[in-house]
């Protein structure tokens, strides 16, 4: 304590350490946030290259570039990397950067743990990517890794995959605890829960979801590990187990997981739309309640991923009704965003373009989700490209567009420089067009009967697959603009003002651009 006072009194500057140790040992929320964001961008490109490998193979019928087994490894790794390596770390990175600044705190509540929760990730993903070079290849059983394909029939590298998943889970739980502790303990005086920015609210709820479900994922992979190496039969009917048990446990994790990947996006969009509509968010209170209801509902709908496993009628009905119910709070959110735009004074800078595209395309993903919820019809949609189209509409223009919107929105604050607006707009339009050309035709080939996860397809699906592949390459390559723009902005450019955007609101805009190394050394006052 005395040393602290001493350094404070001598006016010693608590700046970052020099060289590589700044990043290795850092406990600073901004440094760690930056590392998370860079890591996720790298993973986004790696996972994206895998997606392009898939789309290149599917450009026309027949096997031309890769063999089916490698195709399965690509689909599996693409899914795992995008979910655990790109989307989740990006949101954690945004939370690290923004939550302390938005609640008026100097840093995260548990800074040393923050360092740990980041540095686990590169090791986890190195381990997972290494499996691609092992005998028998990497995981080839889909990101849902259904047993017994992933236990009895898996390549030996599955053990590495299990440990990698454990490490990611540990990282996520530590990150979530940190965010909860920060929000609960470090809010500025006067910032009640119902005054917190929506991004903070959505992350608080997301953090609770993470703590609730990551242990379930850890449980299911541990059961796999025991089935593979210790002679148990959790998922083996011949030993008294049940392969469907795997799916129940997996989706009890997996369904809330999809909300983990979208709730922070809701928060981001709820920050951006009011800024560029120059109007307060419509229905703040109902936004908070809607987010909480979605989170609670997410725990009781998991079996809608399993309508065809042979559930009894009553089970099908229960999961159909509860799943349909999610449309109500989600609808409330969409209506609120539109009401925020209504009678506003809108401008369309890059973050706003991404946010508006988010609302439109996420809603389309919501419509196909509603269609999938109707159990009898789901018998036809299930495991087809219709499902692929649905979840890519909620995850690419949903989660990823919101991350891009957030990046453009806060980049001037982070770096102190403005990014290149016209390049940003070009990036938006190419991405928007690319995403739709890629994923919209997938609705059609899915309805026409093309199953998911196949490396080769019947001739009737050829034309739309070709279109989708063209779109994928357009979308993929336009991301280079994104990276270029970020790098240029980090290196210099037109200086940003503190408030940056005319309509911006909230504590983070009261700090300088870039903000000081420790955000708020004096707690701000909130009325």
């Amino acid at each position: 304590m005395s040393t602290l006072e001493q350094t404070a009194s001598t006016g010693h500057h608590h700046g970052p350490a020099k060289g590589i140790t700044r990043w290795l040992y850092t406990t600073n929320h901004k440094d760690i946030g930056t590392m998370y964001l860079i890591f996720s961008l790298v993973m986004f490109m790696v996972g994206g290259c895998m997606a392009l490998t898939i789309r290149a193979e599917l450009f026309q019928p027949g096997l031309q570039l890769i063999q089916p087994d490698f195709f399965n490894q690509m689909t599996t790794m693409h899914g795992l990397i995008m979910v655990f390596g790109a989307v989740m770390p990006a949101f954690v990175g945004l939370a690290n950067w923004m939550v302390p600044m938005m609640v008026g705190a100097p840093d995260m509540a548990l800074p040393r743990m923050n360092n740990w929760s980041f540095w686990i990730l590169p090791f986890a993903f190195s381990m997972m990517l290494m499996t691609l070079f092992m005998d028998g290849g990497g995981p080839n059983f889909g990101w849902t890794f259904y047993a017994p394909l992933s236990t009895t029939y898996a390549p030996p590298s599955v053990t590495f995959f299990i440990f990698a998943v454990h490490m990611m889970g540990i990282s996520s739980i530590m990150g979530a605890i940190n965010i909860i502790a920060t929000i609960f303990n470090l809010r500025a005086p006067g910032m009640t829960f119902m005054k917190m920015p929506l991004f903070v609210w959505t992350w608080l709820i997301t953090a609770f979801l993470l703590i609730a479900v990551m242990p379930v994922l850890a449980g299911v992979v541990t059961m796999m590990l025991m089935d593979i190496h210790f002679g148990t039969s959790f998922f083996n009917a011949a030993g008294g187990g049940d392969p469907v048990l795997f799916q129940h446990v997996f989706w009890f994790f997996g369904h809330p997981e999809v909300y983990i990947m979208i709730l922070p996006a809701f928060g981001i969009v709820s920050e951006i739309i009011p800024t560029f509509a120059r109007k307060k968010l419509f229905g703040y209170t109902s936004m908070v309640y809607a987010t909480s209801s979605i989170a609670i509902l997410s725990f009781i709908v998991w079996a809608h991923h399993m309508f065809t496993v042979g559930m009894p009628l009553i089970g099908e009905l229960f999961f159909m009704f509860t799943t349909m119910l999610i449309a109500v709070p989600t609808g409330v959110k969409v209506f609120n965003w539109i009401a925020t735009m209504f009678r506003g004074s809108m401008t369309f800078e890059t973050p706003m373009l991404f946010a508006v595209a988010f609302v439109v395309l996420f809603t389309i993903g919501g419509f196909s989700g509603l269609m999938l919820a109707i159990a009898p019809v789901d018998f036809q949609y299930h495991d087809t490209y219709f499902v692929v189209a649905h979840f890519h509409y909620v995850l690419v223009p949903g989660a990823i567009f919101s991350i891009m919107a957030a990046t453009y929105y806060w980049l001037p604050k982070w770096t102190g420089n403005m990014y290149n607006e016209s390049m940003g707009k070009l990036h938006f339009w190419l991405s928007f067009i690319g995403v739709n050309i890629t994923f919209f035709p997938m609705h059609f080939i899915g309805l026409a009967g093309m199953p998911r996860r196949i490396p080769d397809y019947a001739l009737q699906f050829a034309d739309f697959n070709m279109v989708a592949s063209v779109g994928a390459f357009l979308f993929g390559f336009s991301q280079l603009l994104f990276i270029y723009n970020i790098v240029c902005c980090a290196r210099g450019g037109k200086k940003a003002t503190d408030r940056v955007w005319e309509g911006s609101h909230g504590l983070e805009w009261t700090l300088t651009s870039p903000p000081p190394y420790h955000s708020f050394s004096q707690p701000p006052k909130v009325d």
Partner: protein
């Protein structure tokens, strides 16, 4: 042709129904009462979604166009309206209830447990389907029949590329056919869109599905659950025939079985076995062990010049083919192939690619199975 279509598409993505005339864009309406009910339900939900989308996106577009700063729009200060918020919670709820009613009715129909006329057990194997007609002496495997060189782009692709099998499952029209669906190794899913039947095949458990097909015809589908490397090469073909044709087919099955038995008892020469074995190898073994017998290192062992192929490995080799290797992807082919086919394929493997490992006869296979 494809270029024309692409140009047409790029010129106007959703301009007119004519553009889509040759592009498959919707569910098949199917040939059963259930598939019709599902199709109608699908269209209802689709139109409801479109209607909501038009209203929601319409309001949004209007706001985007007319409330821009560049048009001089001034921001208003309202940010709450309790009645509006209650209204747009209740109205969607009402719409959902209206959608849930027909959905529930259809689902109850699909779960109709009444007695079936014909029971067929469907078993998923990596990567083929087995059909056993319960109470009748019919039991066969259904393999993909698209030649490998079409898949490798070395030959022109046929009309039913990847959707054709050597032996389809045959059912009569107008009769209730019940499928008892299970799997031998991993989870598969038996799916025929025109019948609106999709049911997972789970090892160790039996799922039930049923259909009454209205029109004779050939209906094609695919495995719908990722089941390993050849998941994309596991079609389902249902051949629905009139009652009379179905009876004819049943009779022909008995004859075919007698012929197979006679073949097992006749004396086979090595040459005959090798040439027959090559065909069997292509359908049953090639996917893993490759055309050149080299296998895939790390995943599937090679068959060239291994100790197993030396002459003293003969019985061990035969045992592995007949009983499989537990804990690996090597299946027990004893029940999948006839004694003649087994003898042929084993003999072929022992003499192909420069191997020189002797021959085995169908009679020896029979003995081996009885051990």
């Amino acid at each position: 042709m494809r270029c024309n279509r692409l140009a047409l598409l790029l010129s106007g993505f959703v301009i007119s129904p004519a553009v889509f005339a040759e592009w498959e864009v919707n569910l098949v309406r199917g040939v059963t009462e259930i598939s019709h009910a599902i199709f109608d339900l699908h269209m209802i939900i689709f139109y409801v979604c479109v209607a909501i989308a038009v209203v929601v996106f319409g309001v949004m577009l209007w706001a985007i166009v007319y409330h821009r700063k560049s048009r001089g729009a001034k921001a208003q200060h309202f940010h709450e309206h309790i009645w509006v918020e209650i209204l747009w919670t209740i109205v969607p709820f009402g719409i959902l209830v209206a959608m849930a009613v027909p959905a529930t009715q259809t689902l109850i129909k699909m779960y109709d447990k009444s007695e079936a006329d014909i029971n067929i057990q469907v078993t998923g194997y990596q990567w083929k389907w087995r059909y056993q007609y319960l109470g009748q002496d019919i039991d066969f495997f259904s393999n993909l029949s698209t030649p490998q060189d079409q898949i490798n782009n070395e030959a022109v692709k046929g009309e039913n590329y990847l959707l054709e099998v050597d032996r389809p499952v045959v059912i009569p029209v107008g009769k209730k056919v019940r499928f008892l669906i299970t799997a031998n190794d991993v989870i598969h899913s038996w799916w025929v869109p025109a019948l609106a039947v999709k049911q997972d095949a789970i090892p160790g458990f039996i799922n039930e599905a049923w259909t009454i097909v209205d029109e004779p015809g050939i209906y094609r589908g695919q495995c719908a659950e990722l089941c390993g490397r050849d998941h994309g090469f596991m079609p389902v073909v249902v051949d629905a025939r009139s009652e009379a044709d179905y009876q004819l087919w049943l009779a022909s099955q008995t004859q075919a079985q007698e012929a197979a038995q006679a073949a097992a008892e006749q004396t086979w020469t090595m040459e005959a076995l090798i040439s027959k074995g090559e065909e069997v190898y292509k359908t049953s073994c090639l996917a893993c062990h490759q055309a050149n017998g080299q296998g895939i290192p790390g995943a599937f062992p090679g068959l060239v010049n291994t100790p197993l192929m030396a002459s003293d490995g003969l019985m061990e080799h035969a045992r592995i083919v007949v009983h499989g290797r537990t804990g690996t992807a090597m299946q027990a082919f004893g029940e999948q192939l006839s004694d003649v086919d087994l003898a042929a394929v084993i003999t072929y493997e022992r003499n192909a690619w420069g191997n020189d490992g002797g021959m085995i006869t169908p009679q020896q296979i029979k003995q081996l199975k009885e051990e």
